[in-house]
Structures are given as structure tokens and as C-alpha cells.
Symmetry: C5
Subunit: 354 residues, 5 copies
Amino acid sequence: MRFIKKSRKKVGAPPGTLVHVGEKQTHRVDITLTEYDGETLSEKQIPDVDALIRETTGKEMVRWIDINGIHDVSIIEAMGQAFQIHPLVLEDILNTGHRPKLEAQENYVYIVLKMIQFDDEKDQIQSEQLSLLLGDGFVISFQEKPGDVFDAVRERLRSGKGRIRKNGCDYLVYALLDAVVDYYFLALENFSDRIEAMEEVLMEDPSPRILEAIHASKREMIFLRKQIWPLRDIVGQLRKGEVPYVQSLNRMFYDDVYDHMIQAVEITESFRDMLSGLQDLYLSTISFKMNEVMKVLTIIATIFIPLTFIAGIYGMNFQYMPELTWRWGYGAVWLVMGVVALGLFFYFKKKRWL
Amino acid sequence: MRFIKKSRKKVGAPPGTLVHVGEKQTHRVDITLTEYDGETLSEKQIPDVDALIRETTGKEMVRWIDINGIHDVSIIEAMGQAFQIHPLVLEDILNTGHRPKLEAQENYVYIVLKMIQFDDEKDQIQSEQLSLLLGDGFVISFQEKPGDVFDAVRERLRSGKGRIRKNGCDYLVYALLDAVVDYYFLALENFSDRIEAMEEVLMEDPSPRILEAIHASKREMIFLRKQIWPLRDIVGQLRKGEVPYVQSLNRMFYDDVYDHMIQAVEITESFRDMLSGLQDLYLSTISFKMNEVMKVLTIIATIFIPLTFIAGIYGMNFQYMPELTWRWGYGAVWLVMGVVALGLFFYFKKKRWL
Amino acid sequence: MRFIKKSRKKVGAPPGTLVHVGEKQTHRVDITLTEYDGETLSEKQIPDVDALIRETTGKEMVRWIDINGIHDVSIIEAMGQAFQIHPLVLEDILNTGHRPKLEAQENYVYIVLKMIQFDDEKDQIQSEQLSLLLGDGFVISFQEKPGDVFDAVRERLRSGKGRIRKNGCDYLVYALLDAVVDYYFLALENFSDRIEAMEEVLMEDPSPRILEAIHASKREMIFLRKQIWPLRDIVGQLRKGEVPYVQSLNRMFYDDVYDHMIQAVEITESFRDMLSGLQDLYLSTISFKMNEVMKVLTIIATIFIPLTFIAGIYGMNFQYMPELTWRWGYGAVWLVMGVVALGLFFYFKKKRWL
Amino acid sequence: MRFIKKSRKKVGAPPGTLVHVGEKQTHRVDITLTEYDGETLSEKQIPDVDALIRETTGKEMVRWIDINGIHDVSIIEAMGQAFQIHPLVLEDILNTGHRPKLEAQENYVYIVLKMIQFDDEKDQIQSEQLSLLLGDGFVISFQEKPGDVFDAVRERLRSGKGRIRKNGCDYLVYALLDAVVDYYFLALENFSDRIEAMEEVLMEDPSPRILEAIHASKREMIFLRKQIWPLRDIVGQLRKGEVPYVQSLNRMFYDDVYDHMIQAVEITESFRDMLSGLQDLYLSTISFKMNEVMKVLTIIATIFIPLTFIAGIYGMNFQYMPELTWRWGYGAVWLVMGVVALGLFFYFKKKRWL
Amino acid sequence: MRFIKKSRKKVGAPPGTLVHVGEKQTHRVDITLTEYDGETLSEKQIPDVDALIRETTGKEMVRWIDINGIHDVSIIEAMGQAFQIHPLVLEDILNTGHRPKLEAQENYVYIVLKMIQFDDEKDQIQSEQLSLLLGDGFVISFQEKPGDVFDAVRERLRSGKGRIRKNGCDYLVYALLDAVVDYYFLALENFSDRIEAMEEVLMEDPSPRILEAIHASKREMIFLRKQIWPLRDIVGQLRKGEVPYVQSLNRMFYDDVYDHMIQAVEITESFRDMLSGLQDLYLSTISFKMNEVMKVLTIIATIFIPLTFIAGIYGMNFQYMPELTWRWGYGAVWLVMGVVALGLFFYFKKKRWL
């Protein structure tokens, strides 16, 4: 069930009550602390939040804290105290059914969005909630599951090439968003393949299975659109420089992501139109095929019905049926039947019913 | 009948005429006076409006007057005089068919909205009108029926934990709205379950009953949307601080409700799309099943019609039918029939009609 | 034909040409002059416009001139001269096919709208054009037919209770508009009843008559929407105080009408959705019923066709048909037929085709 | 082919290349010069543009140059030089596939729109492009064909009554636009008649011809809407006084045309809804009729199939069929058949299938 | 696959990574340098970017560098360095799946759009990406394939007539855009022909092939609309003078292109409506034809079924069937059958089923 998460919170509970809402997870929560500037980079696995505070060097570096799991409420709570995060924001981080939004608070900017991956096994889109906190000198990312969306970013950080080590925290946020958007495009490409495949199958063998596939794709498209649409606005705010902690020198990169977002929105729109078109095509194809079958069958029946009637006539037992005693009566009946059958056949042919 | 309440008022009656419009109610009207500040809290059942005025302490406390019934017009009138409420507002309180709105008057803010509860017995949404008056130091709430939507709020007041005892009247209004919105989400979750259930049933056994269920859900969705859409604007006004009696320190909580409202709007939109999708799916499924049945049956008929014709031929009573006297005539006919039947069968098979 | 009135004016005629456009009327035109202030009220039937001028007292009173018929062009012309009404406005008053609008002229405000009444006999909405002129100390109303929409207002004026005698000309206009809107709601209630009735009938006996009824309701809904939508804007202008001759103390009453107008707009939208839903439901129901019938009939035919074939076999006249001479041949055939019939029956049952 | 004119211009030709685009015309181009002020009026047929310059008096009069044909490019070119019209504007005048627009140039205002006439013979809308140039003291109108849309305006000019002789060039433009809009309404009235006629025919005899008529009307409606929509904006600009050469004293008349345009837009919208409704109704009616026919026919077949089976039974030639020798066997079979037939008949009746 | 280009870039690659995205091309990249002012014009084929720099004269001329191929990344990179083009812009030039956009950078304006050509052989629209850079004294154009869209512009440059040699770089960009838009109109004209052709075929012989053609046209229309819509905005920005390097004297020409773009948008909208209409018409036509066939066939069957029944009656072998021994029994049966057949025939005729 995708469009609403069960038990958003205990009904009537006070705001800021911290409850994890979403699929149950049991894996260990990993905390990764990456600190870097133009010259040095250190990457550490941290056991708990207290250790995190201890490990943090006081230097002027970009600190990226990546937390791979939000089902352990105590960690979120500890992070909240350590970084002075508002209880309502913590509640939002824990509620995996949240719609994408950006909230500028006094000492940080809070962004929540969905990461999309296409699960080839289940042949389905998998989504995972990502919460980002961008503050003065730090970026905190909360993911639901350990995953590989950010591996490429990490790789670029380690290699130390390009702007990524020099352009500060907001560039890191850009790089993370860009990685997320890249996966959106992968999912869209996959959709595109699926639509093409369905189109081909549809012409040859329209079965209800293909209809269910179209229906399922439509639902996923609704879901995807719901994630992409608000994300566009979020990136729009970031690029316009209305958001604190975003430097003007990095705005052009947000422009680039924004372009991709608009393209993604347009592609979803096109896909929606195409799926509707496919559905129409399915219905017409199936009804056309059905009609063809019925027509041919009915025509066969219609040709034989008068013939059977003629046979019935001469099957009657009247004592006085002169035709029955004629020498060529039987042959004549075959002749009549042949004429009737051919007559009907050519009539149907002429009428283009065959 | 949901979308319009009968006899809105006597046609042509002057404005401010106080008439109760809605389902007839007969229960006794309960008035509950709750007074609290950070330290103390008193909760009293009050028999009538005069007593209410007497019981009210002059102290600087938050006073919440909760009235569980609006069918007794005299009580509403007395409240109107006691708190100087405009006759047009009183008329709106009594008219249970009103659309959600917010009206800022000189000495109070008037909010009217619908509370939604899902009635499991009737398998239907139940709605009840809630009027809220937020003034300087007081909150008045008018409900149609005694109910439990606000029980959680009351509980939090009594326990005295959290901000609720300290943040003033506007926070109380926030808490009440938040409780109402929680029930909206409960109703939406319930809808989600129903849609899922319908989807499953539909694949197995598409019957007109499921179509009626889809149709009924669509109607409820239209109704729900009509309630949620204007409520979004109301909360939007409250959070922007355009409304008197709302303190800036509580605005962030209204932001939170606003987020929930937007999410609710989006969920209704998604549900509407999904219900339309279900309807399409129903129609295609049923027509596909029907086609399958008709096709098989027609094919059976089509195979037997030529066979019956052949049998008819040799049922004719012509004197000169050489085949009839042949030794193996009967067997030959069976052979011919078998060939025809198999021929047709394989032809249909080849054409993928079977 | 409702959506366009024939011969709007002679094509190419100069602007301001006074021609009555609409249904031909023959009744006598009544002019009623009502003059009142807080203390006194006089009501007179006036024979013609000259008399009207003579009868008018010079005192500081609210003068309401109600003209029950616009087919007598000379009266409109005389009114135009007496009150200095622009020829283009006079043309609009005479053209009953006009869309609702508000025009603020120098010495008066011109409002044109449609009054709606539900005609129970014809089971149809009846509309009549109402033109209102609000000036300094006078209100002129032009109706097409003598009617009772304003009777309640007249009654309130005579009784002298409430604000109506004290709040001036603009309050009178408010009272008239409010009376018109009350009739809109009556028509909408009536619609609501009709929709409910159609819904019930539809489930039991879907006939093309119900489809025509839905179609007719849709057309009326389109018409109603066309009247209500611009009226909303008109009332919106009045309440915002952008219009001269409207006092700020009466604005709250316009707010009230505005609320009703928005509600009316929303109800029409809901009805439109519901009518579309009904149409879909009709189509599905009828096709489902049809399918059920065809299926059962086809199955009956399909069971009997093989049986008839078997009977045909033993109707053949071959000399050497061993079965025919068997002692139990006839019984055996019955047995075989029974087995075939039951076999098919249970097969169809298993396939859920029956 | 309506929505795009072939060979808009030679692809890649420089801007301002003068080529006539549209239906080939061969008639002689008429140039009519009308000069008037409040007192005098002169109307002359002019052979060519040079003569036009010579004939023009230097006096302070309104000069209206009406050119009835744009297929002679040399005339347009000469006009361009004489009145200093920009080459791009000349190109637009010659391209009859242009969408309505208004362009304010330094020394004139250029308006291009479509004149609509209903051709009763072809039962189709005919459109003709009209270009208007409003400058200081002159109005130039370019039409494609000699026609009678402006005859009424000419008549009013000659009679000299009303404002038309006194209010200047912009009033003349208003009068011309008003005449064009009057013809729009004639076309809409005609549409209205057609829709009504189609509605009546549809109930009685739904044939594919009516569907084609609906389809054709829809296409014409799309075309009409495309012309009316931008014209509304053009008139809107004229009435707001944003356009040079329009005096404020004439603005009220533009207001009047604007009202008509809005009404025309709304009528087209209503017609579109009604045409869609008609199409739905057609489809339902035809499918209902078809169903009725099929149902009755199938029922007849279904009743006779078991009877024929019974007859087949006693047509078998078994030696031992006791019933055949019974005295009342034949009568008994008739009885059984009657019972079966009546039983089925009443069963179908009860099931409401008949 | 049209709506999304595979492997937009390596997922997670840093921004500005130069990878060619699009169909593989192998042809040699041509660089053409055209330098001109009012008097002189030189046109040279340049082997590589270094030569380009050398060949460029320092004079005050308009330099147009046209590059016919973007699959050689090294050339793009060299151009980037030579003209200081931002890496993100270079990435966009290489990504042929980009949506149309305009980006104003410090030292140039970057425009990316699609050129459309109709491929008569494949009966399909072919699109090619065009990137334009407009800077101080230079215009750079990047095309995917060598092609003839700009041949007309080149011709006009060489001939030296008209404004094209005098009005500067921005006029050249205008001329290029205008040439592109001309090809859009060619494609639309072609569409128009196709729609007309489909409409004619549809009435005579509705086959699923025509449905597929409609479906394919719809997809191309969605694609075309996606290209035209943002291009309209781009030209809109250019004409408003918000973009650097565009002189006000050339704005009127951009106005002209803008007009064409709006017209193109409207034509696509009309085509979309018409294609939907065609699809509806197809479905109704095919279902009407089918119904006609089925009805006639069923009627034939229905007439013969009772006749066959009668024949079956007298085929029974009862010993006591008095009719069988009657002298005129056989004739009487023929009479009865004739009466039944004619009766049914006229009944169906009367019911308008035939």
C-alpha cells in the first residue's frame, strides 16, 4: 500500500511525538562520518551519537554524517539533541510517508524526498525516504536502508577530483540530489522499455495480463509523479538562492538539476499520455479481434442454417411428397443447396462481411 | 443526501434568522467548561449559559467552552448574546450544510469545518459540523453530537505535559484542528484498504456489486475532497499569521497541519485517479470475460452446425439416395463428420480463436 | 433552445437600438412604486412612467420601482429618459439572452442576472431575466413576468422588522439578490432529489428513458452553471466595496450571499460529477444485464446443439445402421444425451459461466 | 483543409516576402473610398492606388478605404508604400491563414481577424480574413472577397443618423467589428438549430450519418473557438484604452462588443459540451437499440432450439421406440412442446428479459 | 525510443562530464566558417578548431561557425576552451535528449532546440538537436547531421540582398530560427494531409491498421508538442529584449517568429483534438458496421429456426400423425412456413430491425 502509510502516528498524540512510521526494519543502523576539505578526507564508521560528537574534529571542514536507518528512534532523538533539531522535524524524518518538502529553519535547511530504485526482481519501483539537513559546515543524511545510491558521490569525494572537495556543503547536497535524480532517470528509462515492450506484445497477443500491466504502470506513474512534482519546486527554491546556506557560486549546478527535474516531469506526462493511449489501443484491438471471430463464426452458421432447413424439408414423412419419388430429386436438392450456399457466400463477400 | 441540506432556511427569511438545519437530534446538550493555565486545570459540566457566565473565573486562564449539540436554538442564542457573536455567524453555526470557511471578526475568529469519522457498521463516512470561535482568552467549540474526537486533546490537557497547557488559546485551536485532521487520515487509510480490497475482488469475480461499491466510493471521495480543499486554505491563512489571535510562536504547528492538509489533498487526488482506473479495469475485465465465454460457446455451435447439416442430409426420404444403401455408408458419414469437426477444430486453433 | 436567443438584434443595427429579444409576452406591464424609510412605507400601482415621476415624493426615502414586464419597449424607453439610463444599458435590459454582469455607470450601478424557478409541472427549470439599477436613493428592478420571487422581501418591508427598513438602497438590493439565490438553492435541492431518484431507478430498471433524463439534467446543469458562475463574480465585486452606492456597513451581508454563491458553484460541480458517474453506471449496468442475458441464452443453445446433432444422427435413413435395431438403442441414446447435457452443464458451472 | 494553409510562404524566404497565401481568387479587386464627417459623405470606386492618393481630399474627414481582394499583390505593395506599412504587416495581410491578432505600430494599429458567414447551400461555415488598419484619420480594410457583411454599416453611414458620422475613425472600427460579431452570432444560432435538429433525429433514427454530422460540427466548433478566443483578447485590449487611436469616449462601445465576445466564448463552450453529450447519447442509444434487437432474436432462437430437439428425438429411426406406436404420442409431443415453450416464455418474462 | 535518451550520462558522474548521448554517428564533422559584413562575405571549410582560430580575421564582421556533428567529443571540448563555454553547457550540447531551453550566460546566450524534418520514406518525423551560441560578434551552431535546413539562409547571405547582411548576429540567429520554424510548418502540413487521408479511409474501410496509424500520429503529436511548447517561451524571451546580444531593431522579427510559434501551438492542439475525434469516429464506425452485420445474420437465423422446427415436426416417425396422410399436407406445410417467414420478415421490417 503506497499512497498512505498506516498509523501515521497515534491519533491525537501531541506534535513531536517520535514514532517510526514505515516498513519494519531490523538491520543495524550505520553512522558514517566523512570529513573533508580541499586537501584531506577522513571516513569513519561511528557506533553511536556520543562517539560522533567526540570524533568530530573542530577544524573548518565539511562534515557529512550519513545515517543508514531510521527505525532506531533513540538515535534520531540523540541526533536531535546534538544538532538542536526541532521535534516536528524529527517527527517528519521518522514518518516515511511524508511528501517531499523543504523547510528553512534558523540553523539548518531540512529537505525530505524519495529515492527511487527499480527492483528488477520484483519488476517494480522501490522507494526509500531521504532526509537531508544542510547547516553551517555539516550535511546530515537519513536513509531507511543501507544502499548504493550515494556510492558514486563517495567515490568522487575519495578521488578528490573536480569541484566536489572545494565547493562546500551546499555542493555536497547538490551532488547527493543529482545522484538521486540520476536514479529517477534510470527508473524512467526502465518505464520506457516496459511501455515499448507492452506496445509490441499488445499488437500480437492482447490478453488481460497486459491490461493489468498497464494498470500497474499507471499506478506507479501516479506515484512517481507525486514524488517528482514537489521535488521540482524544492530544487527551484534552491536555485533561486532563497534558501540559506546555499552559495551563489553553486547555483548554476542547481539550475542543471532543475532542468533535469522539468524534463522528468515532462517525461512522466508523456508516459501518462502513452499509457492511456495503450489502454485505448488494447480495448480497440481486443474488440476488433473479437468482432472478427464472431463475424466469421456467425457467417458460417448463417450459411448452414438454410441448408439444414432444406434437408429438414425432405426429411418430412408426408405420404404425398412428389419430389421424393423423382429420379433426380436427391441430386436436385444438392444443387439447390450448393446454389444457396454459394449465393450467400458471394453476397457476404460483396457486402465485405467476409 | 449529502451535497445539499434540505431547507437551508425558510426561503426569503431575513438574514440572521436562527433555524437549526440538519438531521434531527434529541439528545441533551452538554456544555463543558475547561479552564487552565500552566499550573491549574478545572473541568466542569455546566447546565445552561447563565451558569456558564457565573462559573467563569475572572482569572487569566484559557477558557474552552465545548458545546455538544446545536439543535437547541435557545442555547446558541444565549451564547450569541453572552459573547457578542454576530447573528449571521450564529446562523452559520446552526446550518450544518455549510462549507468550511474562516471569518475574522472584530472580537473573534470564526472557523467552520467538518469532522469526519468512519462508521464501521454502516461502512460509510460520517460527517459532523464543527464551529470554532477563537477570541481573546477563550475558545468555543460547537459540535453536533457528543463524540470522542477531542478525547485525546482533553487527556493531554489533564496530564499537563507538553506545550498544550502553556501556549495559549491558539495552540488549543491547533490541537483541536490536528485531532480533526488525524481522523481525516484515519478515513483515508480506511479508503485505501477498501480500494485495495476492491482491486483484489475485481480480478477474481467482477460483479455489478463491485461497480456500485466503486461508484459509492467515488461519491464519498467527491464529498471528502469538498471538505478538505477549503480546509487547506483555512489552515493556510492561520499559518501565515494573517489571522488575529494567532501568536507567531505557534505558527510552526500550523505549518505542520498545513503539510498534512496538502498531503490529504494529494491522497484524495490519487484515490480519485485510482478509482477511475478501477472502473476502467472493471469494464475491461468484465468485457474480456464475456468475450471469452461467447467465443467458446459460438465455436462449439459452429462446429456442430455443419455436422447436424450432414445428419440432416441423410435423414431425407428420397427414394433414390444411393449412399443410403451402401454397406459402409453409415461409417463413411461418421468419418466425414469426424474429419469436418477436427478440421474446424484445428482451423480455429490455428487462428488462435480457441 | 436555451443557450442563445434568436435574433439578438437586427444584424448590423446601430448600438442602442431598442428591440425586445425573448419569448413573446402579452400580459399588461405592472409598475409598482414602493417608498419607505424607517418609519413610513407606501406601496402604489402606477399606470405609466409619467405618473411615476408625478407620484414620486421628493422626500429622503428609499424608492423601489419594480417593473413586471419588458416587452413594452415604450415603457423602457420612457424609464431611460426619466432616469438618464444609457441606451446600451436599455438594450441590455431588453435582451433577455444576456449573461449575468455588473456595470458601474456614473449615476447608477447596473446588474443583470437570471432568476431560476423550478416548474414542477414541466419538471424543468424556468429562468427569467432580472435587471437591477441601484442609484442614489432608488432601486429599479425589471422582470420579464409577474412572479413571486420577491414576495417575501415585500412582506419583510411591510412588517418593518429587521434592518431592511433602515439600511438603505444597497441593503434592498442585497435582500433581492438573497431572495434570488434562495430560489437557486431550491432548484439545486430539486436537482438533488432528481439525481437520487434516478440513481434508485437505474439500479432496478435501466431504460433509455433514464439516459435521456440524465442527458437533460446535464444540459440544465450546464445552463445553471453558466448563470451561477458570473453571478459569483458580481457578488464578489459588491462585497469588496469596489462598487459605488454600496455602504460598508452592508458589506457583511454581501459576504453572506457570496458564501452561498460559492457553495452553489461547488454543488453544481458535484452534481456534474455525479451525473457523469450516473451515466457511466447506466452504461455499465445495462451492458452487464445484457451480457448476463446473452450468456444464459447462449449456454442453453450450446447445450442443445450437440443433443440435436445426436438425434439427427439416428434420424438418418441408412440401411445398415446397427444401433437402430438394438433393443436398448433408444434408451442408450437418451443416456448418452443426458450425459452430454449434464457434462456441459457442470463444465459451464465449473467455469463460472452459469 | 482548414487548420493550416498550404505553402505559408516559400520555406526559407526572407521575412517580408509578399506572396498571397489562400484560395485562388480571380475577381477584380474593388477599392472603395468613403470620406465623411458630421455633415458630408462621399463614396467613390477607385481603379488603383495612385488614383486613391489623388482622389483623397486634404480635409479633416474620416477616410475609409475598403479593398475587396488581396490576391493582387501589386495593390497591397502600392498601399504599403502609400501608407508606410511595414513589410511584415503586408506579409500578414496576404497570408489568409493567420490567427487573429492586434499589433500597435507607430503610425497605425493593425488588426487581423476572421469574418464568419454560414453558407446555407454547403451547410458549412465560410470564413474570410479581414485586416484592419486604424491610423490618424483613416481606416483601411482588406477583405478576401466582395461581400455584404459591411453593407449595414455603409447604410448607417449614408443615412447619417446616430453617432457613426461624428465619433471618428475608432468608432468606425468599432462598427465594423460589431458587424463581424453579429455574423458570429448568426453562425452560432445556426449551430444551435443544427444541434437541436440532430438531437431530435438521434432519438428516432440513430444512423452513422448523424455521427458524421456531430463529428463535422465538432470540427467546425474547434475552428470557431480558435477564431473567437483571440478576438476576445483583441477587443479586450481595445476597450482598456491601451491601444493608440482609440478615444476614451468610444470605449463603452468596445465594452459592449467585449461582452458579446465573452458570451460567444461561453456559447461555444456550451456547444462543445452539448456535442460531446450528443455523441455519448448516440453511442448509448445505438447500443441500446442493438441490444434490444439481439435480445429478442436470441430469445426466439432459444425457445425454438429445445423444441427442434424434441422433434429431432422422434425423427430417429430406432426400431424399438415405444412412444412412436402410442395412440396419443403425437399429441403428447405437441403438449410437451407447448409446455416447454410457455415455460421458457414465462421464465424470460419473469426475468424481465422480454 | 523517443521520449528519453538512453544513458543520459554515467549515473553519478560529476557534472560537466562530456559524453555524447544519442544515435551513433560516424560521418566526418564539418566546420564551416562564414564571415560577413554589409560588403564582403567569405565562406571556408575548416579542418579543426585550431585552424578555426587561425582563420578568423580580427575584423568587425559577423562570424558564423556551423559545426555539423557532435559525436566527436574532442571538437566540442576544443570549442569550449576556445570560446570559454561552461562545461555544463558543453554537456548539454552533447546530450541530444535535451528539452528546448535558453540560458543567458555572461559572454554568450545558449539556445538548444529540435529541428524537425518529415522523412517521406519512413513516413515519420525526424528530429535533430540544434544548439546555438550567440555572443559578441559570433554565432556558433551545433547540428547532429549535415543537412539542408540552413541552405536557404546561406543562399540569402551569399546573394547579399535584404537585411541579413546588415543587421548583425542576432538577426542571423533570427534567420536560423525562422528556417527551423518553417520546417515545423512543413511537418504540420504533412500531418494535416495525413489526418485528412486517414479520415477518408476511415469512412470506407475502418481497419485496425488505421487505428495504429492514429495511435502513431498521436505519439508524434505528443513529441512535437513537447518541442514546440518550450520553444515558444524561448522566442518569447528573445522578443521581449530580456536577453543580451539582441538588438531592439531586430525585435520585430522575433515578434514574427513568436506569432508563428503560437500558431504552431494552436495547430498542434487542434490536431490533437482532431486525432481524438478520429479515434472516437473509428470506434463508432467499426461498432456500427459490426452491429449491422450481426443484426442481419441473426435475423436470417431467426427466420429459419421456426421453419426448421416445423420441418422437424413432420420428420417425426409417430404412427398416428394424421397430417402426414392428408393429400395436401405437404403443400399446407409449405404454406404455413411461407406465412411464418413472411410474418417474421414484415414484423422485423416494421420494427426497423432490417
